[in-house]
């Protein structure tokens, strides 16, 4: 609009707006960013490298799972839950099936409960492996990713042989399991346990005493147990902050009451402790699987339930310890074949809220580490 040749006098440049401002800077991370593990957008407010605050923008993967549930029968909704936390589909299915069974006032037979425990714990291992691989990759260690994906394959093979699917398994049915185990299932699981025991040591050799790893994770993203409880954070994140709480022990479901296992806890609530807790949890999961395979009872795998499910009028809340934390289902029945309302209490969604607290005052690079250590799955955050 002005004459381009006109010279700008020095006086006309406003002094309070220097070209390079050293104060706050707002930058946008994601939603398309490899370290956000999906489509998470984080708006960061920075002072140089230091994070002054941040805001999560979520919902990019919102599919309206809860609305879909109201328009499906109880049985038809079962596969949908697999697609929330898609790296731990078996856990989602377990929580949902148990919640509906509770509403129907029935229980799965003992053999089905054992099969459920074996598959759920295998899935916990798979979920933790994926977490470890991607988390380490984010921080700069590439090798663990290849190791964990190589070994995770063995778990997925068992899933595939059992139910035909690798990721969205739909392994359980309301009332038990649809399939009896295949011939050689027990042997496959035992072989896997023998194969995997030295592999965890291998992972730990790569990372636990690795100086770069320790420097990148110790005292990063610290959160106290008190803050965790106030923020509703559950799962390994809560336990790494020193709160010894695991739903498998606190309010046992499936067959967990019958197994002997420990709850690993951390002390400092930092990224390194969360790493140690999850590694220890993997060993405990193996203990549980071994006991369950050895004690696998005979009998039917499906309870006697009507072909058309019409739970009595009422509401129920049931939750399980998913690999990420407390996964709850609140179901309201109006006595018809379709749920009146299903609310999913997603651990990833609630845990993600702690990101702000954990990152305040940290460096930008630590935000990446903290997103990794929270182990969120955006499919579950957004539902």
């Amino acid at each position: 609009m002005n004459d381009p040749n006109a010279r700008v006098s020095v006086e006309s440049i406003p002094e309070e707006k220097p070209f390079l401002d050293a104060s706050e800077l707002v930058i946008n991370m994601g939603p398309q960013h490899p370290a956000t593990h999906g489509v998470l957008r984080v708006i960061l407010k920075l002072d140089g490298e230091k994070v002054l605050g941040l805001e999560c923008v979520i919902g990019y993967l919102h599919r309206g799972v809860e609305k879909i549930a109201e328009n499906r029968t109880y049985t038809m909704f079962n596969p949908y839950v697999d697609r929330m936390d898609y790296v731990a589909a078996v856990s989602n299915g377990l929580g949902y099936c148990e919640a509906v069974e509770k509403l129907l006032n029935t229980e799965a037979p003992p053999r089905a409960k054992y099969i459920r425990v074996i598959l759920t714990e295998l899935n916990r291992l798979a979920s933790h492996q994926l977490w470890l691989g991607t988390h380490a990759l984010d921080i700069g260690a590439m090798t663990p990713l290849f190791y964990t994906f190589r070994d995770r394959e063995e778990i997925l093979k068992i899933f595939e042989k059992y139910c035909g699917a690798r990721l969205t398994t739909h392994a359980f049915r309301i009332g038990g399991c649809q399939y009896e185990t295949y011939d050689g299932f027990e042997q496959d699981v035992r072989n896997f346990l023998n194969f995997f025991t030295p592999k965890i040591d291998e992972y730990e050799e790569l990372l636990t005493a690795n100086r770069i790893w320790v420097r990148r994770t110790k005292n990063v993203g610290v959160i106290s147990g008190k803050d965790c409880i106030a923020l509703g954070v559950t799962g390994p994140v809560l336990r790494a902050s020193g709160v010894k709480w695991d739903l498998r022990k606190a309010q046992p479901y499936a067959a967990y009451k019958e197994f002997d296992f420990d709850i690993p806890v951390g002390e400092n609530g930092d990224t390194y402790d969360r790493y140690l807790v999850r590694m220890a949890e993997m060993r405990q999961s193996m203990r549980i699987i071994r006991q369950a395979v050895d004690g696998l009872p005979d009998g039917p795998v499906m309870a006697k339930i009507p072909k058309v499910l019409k739970p009595p009028v009422g509401e129920i809340y049931h939750s399980i310890e998913a690999p990420k934390g407390e996964l709850g289902y609140f179901i309201v029945s109006d006595g018809s074949t379709q749920p009146y309302r299903i609310r999913v209490r997603p651990p990833s969604f609630v845990n993600l809220q702690a990101l702000e607290v954990m990152c305040r005052g940290a460096l930008v690079a630590d935000v990446i580490a903290v997103i990794g250590t929270l182990d969120i799955v955006l499919g579950e955050v957004d539902r």
Partner: protein
Amino acid sequence: MAEDPKPPDAPKPAPDAEAKAAAPPAKPATPAKPAGPVPVAWDSPLTARLKEQFGSGVEPLTYLEQNYLQVDRASVSPILQILRDQDQFDYCVDITAVHYPNRERPFDVLWILYSFPHNQRLRVKAQFADGESVPTAVNLWTTANWLEREVFDMFGIRFEGHPDLKRILLPDGWKGHPLRKDYGILQQDQEWVQINLGIESGQ
């Protein structure tokens, strides 16, 4: 095995089920079952204390071994405060709502609480009218922040005193609250879709 024999018919069960119940003599056995358990009164030192303080404003019940308090909407705030401070319900698991469009006060708002020291769960349930504000729980449990935002996003229930009440899963400019019963399963904010995504329809 437990699959619905006729999945295509299942989404519209009401007329179908009635017809079945009337026609064959074998069927009435199934509808008889759903009568099932009913909520019964729940007695404990906690409920006695609350009853004494709030009288008919609180009704403690148990359903399938799960305890809940049916609370008058005016006493929600003090009861949540008491539960957290005196009864050590230090963990707010979830806040959610259920829509009953034909009721005088169509929304059930629920607080699912857990106590670490007592390993106990409890639900607090209150009815609210459309457009009525619900007292926020952010000052009691920080986790309520996002949970209340989601309830606002999905149901349009406003929380009084919430520090930053805005949509969380849906985009800011979206019209409508999808988990209300009058919001159809295929319904979308077409205007938003056309403006922001540049496509004719999101279907």
